[in-house]
């Protein structure tokens, strides 16, 4: 291996790592706020990528019907729980209807990458809070294990629905731009720049949101002390919903960013999500900067192992978690499930 190859591998690793970092941030956030290990995180990546590719090809994405169906389901579920009807009509019925209508009108016009990105975000993101309302909010007081089992069930259901709505064929989209930067032998591709730029910007935005806005602080407060948050009037359900909105948006954006790089299938998301989960675990599901660093490490480890032993690349990445777990369990005494 010479330095050029090493540089390419590092670049690959950091670009993939940036995506894992976004997803790991989202996993840590959802877990801290709701105690849900968000297994379906990767499915949002797949849905985001496939929806974007469909829009680019000028066809109506199947996720539209998933959006509409889940909206109606969330509405019926809310009726059963006797929630305020007007708010639900707006968020569960009017919003998906408007998104479906806009998409239906916009698709034949092939409105370009930016509009497709926004449309994809609008179509896929609301699926996450609907899932929260139907699947997780009624379980809010359940143990972490029960929530995890529910999350696995949601993942399997979403993967099946992905097959129904997008079919077994994979999709790929054009890069956002053909620009590339060359320094000597070293070339940085346009899409890699987009990924690094957008993930960087998104992290800065998240930092600002959590550090400086009342809503962001309220989410953090829920993560730090759920009872304390309720006592100042921060609703657990609203916080959970908001965390899921962020998770849905982050997953969707990640999918949009990678679909020009790799062919995305209905079931591609899981392994991507699992690698982000590895990073989140290394950060103990608690530290945001730790998760980002660990994710970059996972990305670089993956790209080097795919060069040296590509058949074992997944094995190597997932094995990396074992020494970390050993180190953690030796360093810290066992922590109770409900210990704050």
């Amino acid at each position: 291996m010479d330095s050029t190859i090493a540089a390419i591998l590092v670049q690959d690793g950091i670009v993939n790592g940036a995506i894992y970092a976004l997803l790991a941030l989202s996993l840590v956030l959802v877990f801290a706020v709701t105690r849900v290990v968000f297994v379906p995180q990767g499915d949002f990546v797949a849905f985001g990528g496939l929806t974007y590719a469909a829009l680019e090809a000028g066809t109506l994405p199947g996720s539209l019907w998933l959006l509409g169906g889940l909206g109606v389901a969330a509405f019926l579920f809310g009726l059963h729980q006797r929630r305020a009807i007007i708010g639900m009509v707006l968020t569960c019925l009017a919003l998906p209807a408007a998104i479906i209508a806009v998409t239906w009108l916009a698709v034949p016009l092939k409105p370009g990458a930016l509009a497709n990105t926004l449309l994809t975000l609008a179509i896929v993101t609301p699926i996450a809070p609907y899932i929260y309302r139907i699947g997780f909010q009624p379980l809010a007081e359940a143990s972490v294990l029960v929530l995890l089992i529910a999350a696995v069930a949601v993942h399997l259901a979403l993967m099946g629905l992905g097959l129904v709505f997008f079919g077994p064929e994979g999709s790929r989209a054009a890069a956002f731009s053909d620009v590339s930067i060359s320094v000597g032998d070293f070339t940085l591709a346009g899409q890699a720049l987009w990924i690094l730029g957008l993930t960087g910007a998104l992290m800065v935005a998240l930092y600002g949101f959590f550090g400086f806005t009342l809503l962001g602080k309220a989410l953090r407060a829920t993560a730090v002390n759920r009872l304390g948050a309720r006592l100042v009037g921060i609703g657990t359900a609203q916080s959970g919903s908001l965390a899921f909105v962020l998770a849905g948006a982050i997953g969707t954006l990640s999918g949009i960013l990678i679909v020009p790089l790799t062919t995305v299938y209905y079931d591609s998301g899981f392994v991507i999500g699992l690698k982000a989960f590895t990073a989140a675990i290394i950060a103990a599901m608690a530290s945001f900067p730790g998760a980002v660093l660990a994710a970059l490490l996972v990305g670089v480890l993956e790209s080097f192992s795919s060069f040296w032993a590509s058949a074992f690349k997944e094995v190597i990445v997932f094995t990396a978690i074992i020494p970390v777990l050993l180190w953690r369990s030796l360093r810290h005494a066992a922590v109770e499930d409900d210990d704050e």
Binding site: L214, A221, G233
Partner: protein, 238 residues
């Protein structure tokens, strides 16, 4: 008019009753205390009024039936609880803890409350950048009270505010409680420190094994021989 009316309230943990048939009222601007030994159900009572624990019986706040409302909705009505374990946001700054105390008013905040809380607890102003988890026990209690006050409650419920604090700080805390009632907020104070509690309160209830065994004017209770013997110690009688 009463701010809070509790009628025949009962809470059970599974099949085991924790408190039963409790009726009490907190008048507007009044300071009512509930005293009693460890495990009598005092904290259970406050948690049930706040909605943290499910309960049976009647709960009315400013004339509204609140018994079916969530904790968050009760906060919106103007009830605040300073829990026994404080439940602060340990990894966030003192200033952020206070800011979130006013969450029910949204981004516009309660307006001027922060200055009032800082003048009530000057220590919090000095330490406003510090993480809540690094404060001393007394400062944590002050922060928990300050956070509750940021929501401009009509009823402030304090669960064992003197627990685990040095005597000098306990004196400070009770002085502040007395100051607070002068501002017009109704206070429901749960305490094991019966002497200090009865000294600041105008009405008292004695809770034993989940039931109210005595109630009356705080001064009368403080002189009641049964109370003197059980809670105040015979040596302090007169």
């Amino acid at each position: 008019m009463s701010v809070l009316v509790v009628e025949a309230l009962a809470v059970s943990y599974g099949a085991i009753p924790a408190v039963e048939d409790i009726s009490l009222a907190v008048p507007e601007g009044g300071l009512v205390t509930v005293i009693g030994p460890n495990g009598a159900g005092k904290s259970t009572l406050l948690n049930a009024i706040m909605g943290v624990l499910p309960s049976r019986g009647g709960l009315r706040f400013l004339g509204h039936d609140i018994s079916a409302l969530s904790v968050e909705a009760r906060v919106q009505h103007g009830i605040a609880l300073v829990p026994e374990k404080r439940e602060l946001f340990a990894t966030m700054s003192v200033a952020d803890n206070l800011l979130l105390g006013g969450f029910r008013f949204g981004r516009r905040g309660a307006g001027g409350e922060l200055d009032r809380v800082y003048s009530l607890f000057p220590r919090l102003r000095e330490r406003h950048r510090q993480q809540a988890g690094t404060l001393s026990g007394g400062e944590r209690q002050m922060l928990a009270m300050g956070r509750a006050l940021m929501g401009k409650p009509r009823l402030l419920m304090l669960d064992e505010p003197s627990l685990g604090l040095a005597p000098l700080i306990v004196r400070d805390i009770f002085r502040i409680i007395a100051d607070l009632r002068a501002t017009g907020v109704a206070i429901l104070l749960v305490e094991q420190n019966a002497r200090a509690a009865l000294a600041v309160a105008d009405r008292g209830y004695v809770l034993e094994t989940g039931r109210v065994t005595l109630e009356g004017d705080a001064r009368t209770l403080a002189a009641d021989p049964r109370i003197v013997e059980m809670y105040l110690g015979a040596a302090t009688a007169r």
